[in-house]
């Protein structure tokens, strides 16, 4: 179903050998530049080489309309797109918009879920890189000031 894909980042082995990380982690490099970027556009450019994405209805996101708590916002992303190489979560209004990025090797389903922090109401973007392009979907999550927690 899925084809072989290139390494997430070329030369990562050498970099990691220098960083002397544990053996189990000699696999990929943490994309520091993208994570440090303070704009969604900058983060995407650093991560994927471009901030241009094609909106796709084949990306399904599950996020709350109103976050119960901005500190723990459940996000699930799945897609019917083929040859998925990575899925990233971008929250444009967070101080550092790239929240997480998942590398999907052949055989792994394009289906991830995690819990993220959001500082304020913002879109949450799912950015999916496939063998044929970069696609995205977006959903707004409202973050409000709580009363007293129910």
């Amino acid at each position: 179903m899925q084809k072989t894909k290139r390494l997430f980042l070329k030369g990562s082995m050498a970099l990691l050998a220098l960083a002397s990380l544990p053996r189990a982690l000699l696999a990929a490099v943490w994309p520091k530049e993208s994570f440090d970027s303070t704009s969604a556009s900058g983060a995407l450019k650093a991560l994927l080489g471009t901030d241009v994405t094609t909106p796709s209805e084949q990306i399904k996101m599950k996020v709350p309309e109103i976050a119960e708590n901005g500190a723990v916002v459940p996000v699930s992303i799945t897609t019917n797109l083929e040859n998925v190489e990575s899925i990233s979560i971008v929250v444009p209004k967070n101080p550092r918009p790239l929240a997480a990025s998942f590398e999907i090797p052949t055989g792994t389903l394009p289906k991830v879920s995690c819990r993220i922090k959001m500082g304020e109401t913002s879109d949450v973007m799912a950015v999916v890189k496939t063998g044929s392009g970069i696609f995205s979907a977006s959903r707004e999550v409202k973050v409000t000031i709580g009363g007293c927690g129910g």
Binding site: P64, E65, I66, A67, E68, N69, A71, V72, V73, P74, S76, S113, R115, T144, I145, G146, G147, C148, G149, G150
Partner: protein, 268 residues
Amino acid sequence: MALVMVSPVAFAGPEEDRQAFTAFFKSRFPEIPFEEFANGIYAIDQDAREQWQEIETFPPYEFTIDEGRELWAQEFPDGKTYADCFADSETGVRQFYPRFDPDSGEVQTVATAINQCRENHGAERLKFGGDEIVALSAYMSFVSRGQPIFINVPVDEPSARAAYEEGKRFYFTKRGQLNLSCADCHVVSVGQHIRSDRLSASLGHPTHFPVYRSKTGGMVTLHQRFSGCVRDVGAKPFDLQSREFRNLEYFLTYMSNGLDINGPGARK
């Protein structure tokens, strides 16, 4: 004069109180089955419920349960363990607390019972609200999951009844700068918004503690929650495991008799 002012309702028996209490929530939320109230606000708020269920699929309090399980098995200086104080049954004992302790003439909660046990077996008392006692009570709740709450106010113990009445009085008494009682928010205004939160029903409040709160990223006990509520209405909170809070817990838990223990839980 005083006799005229005393409403007979205020002195109805605990069981009549409980029936009136559950009847109120049943008529306020006719579509919600009784057992659902154990889920607190998530019995009422659908969007919040989905987020909660997502978190409950792999809740952060699992680490706390593990810690509690380890502590439960530890030996005291005299070689005994908690199992020697509490019945070490498969269904646990959480559902029977708080209970009236005839020896001290006071209400005993899981937390005070844990410390009593430690004292009896030569171990130091634990700090209320501290990691160890919270982990132990989280584990004890976990063991009792699915067991219906069974609180008793023994009729032959006037002090038990007095403690229950004191808890009831606390529950319905307005306090603090905002002049609110527990009942004002969690009975009268139940389900209403308070800023972006919805007010949970008191029926079921004690089933799921301690809880992992996303807000603090840590465990919160029922008494810490009491303390937070008292603070939120602008009143000075009582100490954790103070007589006031233990009596309140006694009343509040009696009101939830018949609901299943489902703690620990995850809350926003």
